[in-house]
């Protein structure tokens, strides 16, 4: 690992200012579970590392029935898994975060870091897309909100623009009844990245009509060219036969 300068801004504004000042040389660090591996492998050698760990409230999770769930980007996977509102109102998210890696990783890795890494192998993206999550990004100049689905471009490529920081993920409260499932195929170790992960949501009174909202992610190992890499799949033929069993209706 090459030497680097390390900053701990106390606000998002300060962090944005650091990013602007150091432009191409800087990398943000939150939980570090992805960035440090890349740095150790010398795939990334940033001269400046800007930590988001000391920004007050950057890891908060709040819920309002009208507004939905607001997860700040610094929230750790474990925080989301253990949040009572997530468990009560977003059982798919609870189920997904409960199965991310293992507790030691969940205690370190943040949701913002996970999404910005754009790694197609991780679990939260599909479930959040299936739940119509939207994200808010900010920079020194502007703030924008977009559906998470639009954020993912390709393997390890997102729509994160220079100087931007992901600050919040909002998940609207889904209508009830709600059918949902999350499965992942782990052919090797239970702690491996999934070869295929599927999150599925069946909504409201359309449950019976099988109107479905589904997101799947797959590893580069099983190319088929049949789907986009970060797809939201509406009405895909195989879903009618191979869909995960919808035993969960809340």
């Amino acid at each position: 690992m090459v030497k680097f300068d390390y900053f701990e801004p106390k606000s998002v504004e300060q962090a944005c200012a650091f990013l602007e000042r150091h432009a191409d040389e800087a990398k943000l660090i939150a939980g570090g579970t992805a960035l440090l591996i890349w740095m150790r492998m010398m795939l990334l050698n940033p001269h400046v590392v800007v930590s988001l760990a000391r920004i007050p409230g950057f890891d908060s999770i709040s819920f309002d029935p009208k507004d939905g769930l607001r997860i700040k980007a610094g929230a750790r996977h474990r925080d989301i898994e253990l949040d009572p509102a997530v468990r009560e109102h977003y059982p798919l998210l609870y189920e997904t975060f409960r199965k991310v890696a293992q507790p030691r990783i969940r205690n370190m890795g943040t949701i913002g870091g996970n999404l910005c890494q754009g790694d197609p192998l991780t679990d939260p993206g599909a479930s959040l897309i299936a739940m119509d999550a939207e994200i808010t990004l900010t920079s020194s100049k502007a703030k924008r909100t977009l559906p998470l689905e639009k954020f993912f471009v390709d393997y390890y490529q997102t729509d994160l623009r220079p100087g931007e920081i992901l600050i919040e993920i909002r998940v609207p409260l889904p209508a009830r009844p709600l059918g949902w499932a999350h499965i992942k195929f782990l052919p090797r170790s239970q702690e491996d990245f999934a070869t295929v992960g599927v999150a599925l949501v069946l909504r409201g009174n359309a449950l019976g009509k099988r109107r479905r909202s589904c997101a799947a992610k797959r590893s580069p190992m099983i190319e088929s060219g049949r789907w986009r890499r970060w797809p939201r799949m509406k009405s895909i033929p195989w879903m009618t036969t191979a869909a995960p069993p919808i035993t969960n209706v809340t």
């Binding site: 690992m1 030497k3 090797r188 702690e191 491996d192």
Partner: protein, 758 residues
Amino acid sequence: MAKAEKFSVVGQRVQRVDGFDKVTGESKYIADIILPGMLLGKILRSPYPHARILRIDTSKAEHLRGVRAVVTAEDTLKRPWGAFFADQYILSVGKARYVGEEVAAVAAVDLDVAEEALALIDVEWEPLPAVFDAEEAMKAGAPLVHDDKKRNIAVTLDIERGNIQRAFAESDIIVEDTFQSAPQWHCSIETIGSVAEYASSGKYTIYMNSQTLFNARYRIAAALGVPETDIRIIQSAVGGGFGGKSCDDNNALVAAILARKAGKPVKVINSREEEFLAGCRPRVFMKIDVKLGFKKDGRIRAKHIRIIADNGAYSAKAPAITGVAAMRHDTCYKYSDVKTQAYLVYTNKIPTGAFRGFGNPSAEWAVEQAIDIGAHELGIDPMEIARINAAESGYVSPHGNRVTSCELKQCLDMTEKMMDWKKKRADKKPNTGLGLACTVHVSGKRHFGDYDGSSATIKINEDGKALILSGEGEIGQGVHTAMCQIAAEELGVRVEDVEISKADTDLTTFCLGAFASRLTYISGNAVKNAASNVKQQLFQQASEMLEANADDLISHGGRIFVKGAEGKFVTVADAARARLFRHNGAPIVGSGSFDADSVLPDKTRFGNESGAYNYGVQAAQVEVDRETGQVKVLQYVIASDCGTVIYPIGAEGQVEGGFAQGIGYALIEGLQFDEGRPVNPNFSDYRIPSMRDLPPLTHAFADSYEPTGPFGAKGLGELNMDPTAAVISNAIFDAVGVRIKTLPITPEKVLKALTEKG
């Protein structure tokens, strides 16, 4: 025979002697060893699987600020070294033979500078044709890895005992099949590392996380061309060995020559990627043809095995491993007529070598499946086939292995009961199945010269506590605790009153180290003999103090007294002080040696290779998902015969750890090569089993006593790595009727086999 209950310390669940240091983080691993003025070293490695070095220019690297030494083969004697064959160099001489081979190295003030300097070393390469597959390498016209090794063959074995042709003619059925084993890495949490210091007197002091210090000293001395006395090796805490830290690699040698050239201590620690590329020597992978002849009643009449083993670019321990794969299993069942052929072949890949099991997992993967095939063809329960053929105490294998204790049949009975085998077999459910395999391993192996022994010294301090000086070393398996228990039992003191030294080649007597499941049995006997010597001295002193005959004395809990008269005693401390503080005083100190009653195998590899043999049985119940090919292990059962269990917590750890690595070998682990380049040399892509991948395990030790062992003990460390892959494969066959013959058993392979079967 004697039972564990008879002992007061042996067999007790005592606290691990290095437990406090480990849980408080005070154990000093290589990363924790920091010497004044110490530099950090990095190694430039070959990017080619086979390439001639036309020129190396190190001048730019030498001039980089912060660089203190740059070394190439010119800084070495260019003298080959190796465990059995001297065929590898400290740094490439003339050409590199695998991706990752050490070409040059740098010592600098920090790692960033060292890395930068590596990039400034200019090597002009001429890539050469390379060969990656052992069978290809044996063909005429294949590129030669070593010019003097025709057809790249390092070792050929062709041994027949009895009359194999007649034995097959007398067989009722013959089973013939081919199985492919896979490479497997040790994945110790601590990678190989060393800190070397050079004094201008000519002495090297090297801290190593090695598991075989005196063997390391011998090899390092030979490679550097200095006498053994000029090398002092001190063992650091060791974060896992499993055979991978047996000094078959160049890490310590590179640190030593950098330290000499820089005039400062130098630390070299492998990164995880380096560990995969060129650190620990992975399991030898083999293609194994097995042919077995059975009588109708299930008796094995004939066995013919043919092995092609991949040596990689240099010979580490593979020459011995090939022999083990070819012959060891013939000590598990009662064989009369066997033929074994084996070829160990050079390829342009990482040298393969010692890993827990030492050839046995590959052989058992093949032979135990062939036996299972025979059982199914004969319509005999695999449990019965094993029982019919199982070795017993007194058995002498066709290769001369003499079995002094064997509880294999007891282990079969235990396994049958723990698994509820008969009931489960009778109520077989769709897609679930049962599998079984037996295993044998040694307790030490006579192959480093005509010696498979150990030595130890014990001194009694003025406070009555005993200190064992032993050069065998602790690598995490708990052997130091077992040694303290053995000494405490023999001396009649509490285990808390016995300590054990670090292994240090200057301060301890000659020891071969941790390999071949040898320490409890061999080092245990040496420690017991040393303790017995010390006890005689203590009793001599106590007899004067108690005015009694030394022969009438016994000791217990640190007190020495006349049998039956516990009220009148002297403590060990009293006796030790009385012996020391007087005219002509002397400390109480005694040594002990032990050399196993084994035989250095002759040219045909005949001879009793070990002093004792350990046995075991494993069984699994699995469920196969027909849609995905995924195998779920529902239940796992292990019975082990390791004689008396000295340190139960450590022994259970050995069983569970060996089994976990067995599950990894069977179902998960695999390094992929692309033109000799490892594709997945990291823990993201090379997966090992986690806690969540391990099925429920029921385990028990057989009631067993090895007459030549210390308090009846024999080896255990490798036993439960050996048969696991075959157990899983046999269970899959029982579940869904497909047989997987290559490792690891991935869902893809199972699914493909199911699809082909239809």
